[in-house]
């Protein structure tokens, strides 16, 4: 893979150069501070208010800058980079429209607790508040969707602000932090001195849990007859997958992982029951409803997981482990709250955890249920089924690819039919459900993990919300494999209109979409299409072998639905199982 600027200097040499106190401009301070934070890739789009910043980047060889074709592409790419790598994703945009184009991406990252540092230019500080050209109050606009935000009014504050932003973004419950830099601040000169250590008064996330609470959990496990673990994105974000596997191995408690928790636990393990919730497995949902002890590890009891809240896990004692105390008791009353970092909590718990001895009957029952009720679909010999395509992708990549998705039916099929073995392999917008996320986030994931296969699974709807970023795949030779499951409709909306609105299909027909193969070729990306199994296998193999980016369109039927499905307002054991049952 080649990029615009690739020769990264040795780290020590760089650090020495960067740490030298010198009188430099705000823009240079920004770049130095990013490098001191270990940033190796930023996604951005220049404009009037960031001219000094881009001027300082001219000829830069210290990190990659990926010029996207829309600010939305930049922020989703930064998000994909962060989710795939565990590092902070960084993007830069200009004031006004540049900044407002980031809003959806910031909200996406906020909902899924993804660490980002978002840098926006603003108009000169003397012009702020005058409705100046390309002025927008971006700190005000993004206040509800950022973990924190800064408007830097003095260049002397800039270095400290940047380091604080990285610290806040990537500690505690992670999230996006915005830094708004007026144009004059980016131009002003000041003495740059590297900041050592960040200390933010009043910001002190709880990492270490209360030991007594952990002891209570261990005791509850020994008493439980029907214990169950519900693990979420917190496991992946805190890097606790090994501790979780050890915990499950020691306690032998069956486990279900939420949409964002996929990959946090190896899917091949016999205690894994699949994903719970609206499109979860029969066994995961019924086991939640029947459990007498539910241990939530780093999940937030989202409504797509709980279904009707008043009927959720009615028999269970609830243990909730979360780094964010505000999540505990927010939706579900909790019997044993444990505030702390998941990795630390499980590390401590593993010292005393023992097998849940009273749960043998329960384990046997769930094992049988898992065998009896896997995800099912009616396959066809004459046409392509989207589930089959996902299975084919899984098989051909050995389950080891990074898979990013957009939002809708294809997202659920990907979650259902691409079981993961390791964390940071699954990039999907869970909380906000952002269409247009799937493809650009794959670009970010590929930048973070150049040696892994990155497959982006999209629908024909969402693909058209950020298709312009094909240009950057082509120009930078970013070898993302872009899958489009083309059913010619907005499938998930169609499904709800069919099942809940009595077949009244309202504005879901995507007739008029481009020829995706030609679209890819127009950008200089290889395009493929298949509408039967034989062709599908052949073109997919060819796309995988191709060293550069590729778009592969699979033509599937309009009326395929995602099952099981829990209708909104039902408890999660009231599942519509679909026609394959």
């Amino acid at each position: 893979m080649t990029t615009e600027s690739a020769t990264l200097k040795s780290k020590e040499e760089l650090l020495k150069k960067l740490s030298k106190p010198e009188v430099i401009s705000g823009s240079e301070i920004l770049l130095r501070s990013l490098l001191l934070e270990g940033v190796d890739c930023v996604f951005g789009y220049p404009g009037g208010a960031v001219l000094y910043i881009y001027d300082a980047m001219h000829g830069n060889t210290d990190f990659n800058h990926i010029l996207t074709r829309h600010e939305q592409g930049a922020i989703h790419a930064a998000d994909g980079y962060a989710r795939a790598s565990g590092k902070v994703g960084v993007c830069i945009a200009t004031s006004g429209p540049g900044a407002t184009n980031l809003v959806t991406g910031i909200a996406t990252a906020y909902m899924d607790s993804v660490p980002l540092v978002v840098i926006t230019g603003n108009v000169m500080s003397t012009l702020i508040g005058t409705d100046a050209f390309q002025e927008a109050d971006i700190t005000g606009i993004t206040m509800p969707i950022t973990k924190h935000s800064y408007l830097v009014r003095n260049v002397e504050d800039l270095a400290r602000t940047i380091h604080e932003a990285f610290h806040i973004a990537n500690t505690g419950r992670k999230g996006p932090v915005l830094i708004d830099i007026p144009k004059d601040v980016s131009a002003q000169q000041t003495l740059f001195q590297p900041v050592t250590g960040v200390n933010i008064r009043g910001y002190n996330p709880t990492i270490n849990p209360n030991k007594l609470q952990v002891d209570k959990m261990i005791k509850a496990i020994s008493e439980a007859e029907r214990p169950l673990i519900l693990a979420g994105g917190g496991v992946v974000y805190s890097g606790a997958h090994e501790e979780l596997l050890e915990f499950v191995t020691k306690t032998e408690i069956p486990i279900t992982t939420t949409l964002l928790g996929l990959g946090g636990f190896p899917s091949g393990n016999e205690l894994w029951l699949g994903m719970p919730g609206m499109h979860g497995t029969y066994t995961a949902n019924t086991s939640i409803q029947n459990s007498d002890l539910l241990i939530n590890i780093g999940a937030r009891f989202d409504d797509r997981v709980t279904g009707k809240l008043s009927g959720f896990a009615p028999l269970a004692k609830i243990i909730h482990i979360d780094i964010d105390p505000a999540e505990i008791g927010k939706n579900v009353p909790t019997d044993i709250p444990i505030v702390g970092d998941v990795k630390t909590v499980l590390g401590l718990a593993n010292k005393t955890a023992v097998r849940a001895d009273k749960a043998d009957e329960w384990r046997a029952k769930l094992k049988a249920s898992k065998a009896q009720y896997p995800f099912r679909y009616k396959d066809s010999d004459t046409e392509l089924k989207p589930q089959w395509v996902v299975e084919m992708i899984h098989e051909s990549t050995g389950g080891d690819a990074i898979v990013t998705t957009d939002v809708g039916q294809h997202q659920m099929w990907a979650a259902q039919y691409y079981p993961f073995n390791k964390p940071r392999s699954w990039v999907t917008s869970g909380g906000l459900g952002t269409m247009g996320f799937g493809f650009p986030s794959a670009i970010g994931a590929q930048m973070a993990e150049p040696d892994r296969t990155v497959v982006s699974i999209n629908g024909d709807g969402g693909m058209q919300m950020c298709a312009q970023e094909l240009a950057i795949c082509a120009i930078n030779n970013i070898p993302v494999k872009v899958v489009i499951l083309n059913n010619q409709v907005l499938g998930m909306v169609r499904q709800w209109q069919e099942l809940i609105h009595g077949n009244r299909y309202s504005y879901i027909d995507l007739a008029g979409s481009p020829d995706f193969v030609k679209l890819a070729e127009a950008y200089g990306v290889k395009g493929f299409r298949a509408s039967n199994k034989e062709d599908a296998k052949a073109v997919w193999e060819e796309a995988l072998r191709h060293p550069g980016p590729a778009v592969v369109e699979f033509i599937v039927r309009k009326d395929e639905n995602v099952f099981p499905m829990v209708a909104q307002g039902s408890t999660i054991d009231q599942m519509i199982m679909g026609d394959a049952e």
Binding site: T139, G140, M143, H148, G329
Partner: protein, 162 residues
Amino acid sequence: MKKHTIAVIVNDQPGVLQRVAGLFGRRGFNIESITVGASEEQGLSRMVIVTSGDDHTLEQITKQLYKLIDVIKVIDLSSNAMVGRELALIKVYAEPSSRPEILGVVETFRASVVDIGTQSLMVQVVGDSGKIDAMIELLKPYGIRELSRTGVTALNRGNVKQ
């Protein structure tokens, strides 16, 4: 719905009131009154917020406030002995003939007259919200032209540990 009085110690930063008020707004928490001013420490402001809701709501309010980086401390004042005070300025119609009667009310309430116009008096009253409500009730018959209340500011009593 129970009333709660909470103190929020915040960094004295631009936008901090917007962060706190915005949080209440978007999460559907109620603000009955909010007062902001300097605290005992330079660089920190003290907000006093009167809100209503059950204990679960109060717990969420506290936890969500703590998530704001600029919030240093949240104190549930009304869970302990506290002194809560509000100030009101009430401009009331007062023909010379009715003034003695109004002054009688003012005196009983240990309030004071802070301005006299040709046809009005401005009354200043300090006390807990109940006292101010009562004062307003008593002045209503004379005709209230304008009314301004500050909202409650409060501290816990001397022997309450923070």
